[in-house]
């Protein structure tokens, strides 16, 4: 199972399953989560065998209010914590607000070790 499919499975109960890779389709209702891989760091050996990969994933949690965005981000963290993924939370650039569409976004960054 790929990391992406494991992430989708882990977050299946978050935002009623509104989890999207890279970008959100048009006219999707809030709340939703958009995830993207921001870095891949393979763990290699002299024999060139990639043993595992350390992948950093950004989860952008969108909702109508600041507090709801924070709650959604907390739900993402809880879901990842309950999953079988090998994870760690890493530094995040902080929250955002999209004034044009009046949407709040709370980013969450996680590192995952996987094969």
């Amino acid at each position: 199972m790929s990391l992406q499919s494991e992430i989708v499975t882990a977050l299946s109960t978050v935002a009623s399953g509104a989890i999207y890779p890279q970008f959100v389709p048009v006219d999707v209702d809030l709340p939703f989560v958009v995830y993207r891989i921001v870095n891949k760091d393979p763990l290699v050996t002299l024999s060139d065998g990639t043993v595992e990969v350390n992948t950093i994933v950004e989860f952008d949690c969108y909702d109508e209010s600041y507090s709801e965005a924070l709650t959604l981000a907390a739900a993402v963290k809880t879901a990842i914590g309950l999953s079988s993924l090998v994870y760690y939370e890493t530094s995040s650039p902080g929250e955002d607000y999209e004034p044009i569409v009046d949407v709040f976004m709370e980013p969450v960054f996680y590192g995952f070790w996987h094969t």
Partner: protein, 214 residues
């Protein structure tokens, strides 16, 4: 051609066959040539570990690849025995299988520094030195902590029994490096938050490190 640290393997001995004492003679030549009293059963490219407690003691613990020319004769590839002591008795074991250290990520084996001998006399105005024998190169292999790796298990056992272990480095360009070494490792590890656990194996070669172009 540069040797690149990728698509290569570092391995340690897995199987050392029974020791044979059927050596009749070893020439003092480049390369040394071994004659056996009975058919040796070896083939070109086999790797042998020698033991010699008397006579040609320079060969004791040496790992060397061979080329065979007759059923009772083989040459010690790239090993110059010209200045060695005269052979009296000894044995050899074929290293017939290897454990790959698939967890290895880096290896280092810098040449040892020569002994600096002070030869200053009373009339000298500055210190004068001569170089003595160099230290054996101290090496280490760093990699992922994998105590279940068969090579690591072999190193741990050799550490415990204080026995040298044969090493083979197979380079990406097709070259091979062979040496026999005292080893230490297989138990310890380094661990940092959110990172893979690492370990380091230390070794010091016994006798010559031999490199083969193919």
């Amino acid at each position: 051609m540069a040797r690149i640290g990728t698509n290569m393997t570092v391995a340690v001995e897995s199987v050392a066959e029974v020791a044979y004492t059927n050596i009749s003679s070893i020439t003092k030549a480049d390369p040394g040539v071994v004659t056996t009293a009975t058919a040796h059963g070896l083939t070109t490219g086999d790797v042998l570990k020698f033991a010699a407690s008397a006579g040609m003691v320079e060969l004791d613990g040496q790992l060397v690849r061979i080329t065979t020319s007759a059923t009772d004769v083989f040459a010690l590839e790239s090993l110059d025995t010209t200045d060695y002591s005269t052979f009296t008795a000894g044995s050899y074991q074929e290293i017939s299988a290897w454990h790959t250290l698939s967890n290895a990520q880096s290896a280092t084996m810098p040449d040892g520094a020569p002994a600096k001998i002070d030869i200053t006399t009373l009339i000298d105005k500055s210190k004068q030195y001569a170089y003595g024998l160099a230290d054996a190169p101290d090496g280490s292999i760093s990699g992922l902590y994998d105590p279940a790796n068969a090579g690591v298990v072999a190193i741990k056992a050799a550490t415990k029994s204080n026995s040298p272990l044969a090493f083979r480095i197979a380079w990406a360009g097709g070259q091979y490096t062979y040496f026999n070494a005292n080893v230490s490792g297989g138990s310890g590890f380094d661990l940092a938050q959110n990172d893979a656990a690492k370990s380091t194996i230390s070794f010091t070669p016994v006798k010559d490190v031999l490199d083969y172009a193919t």
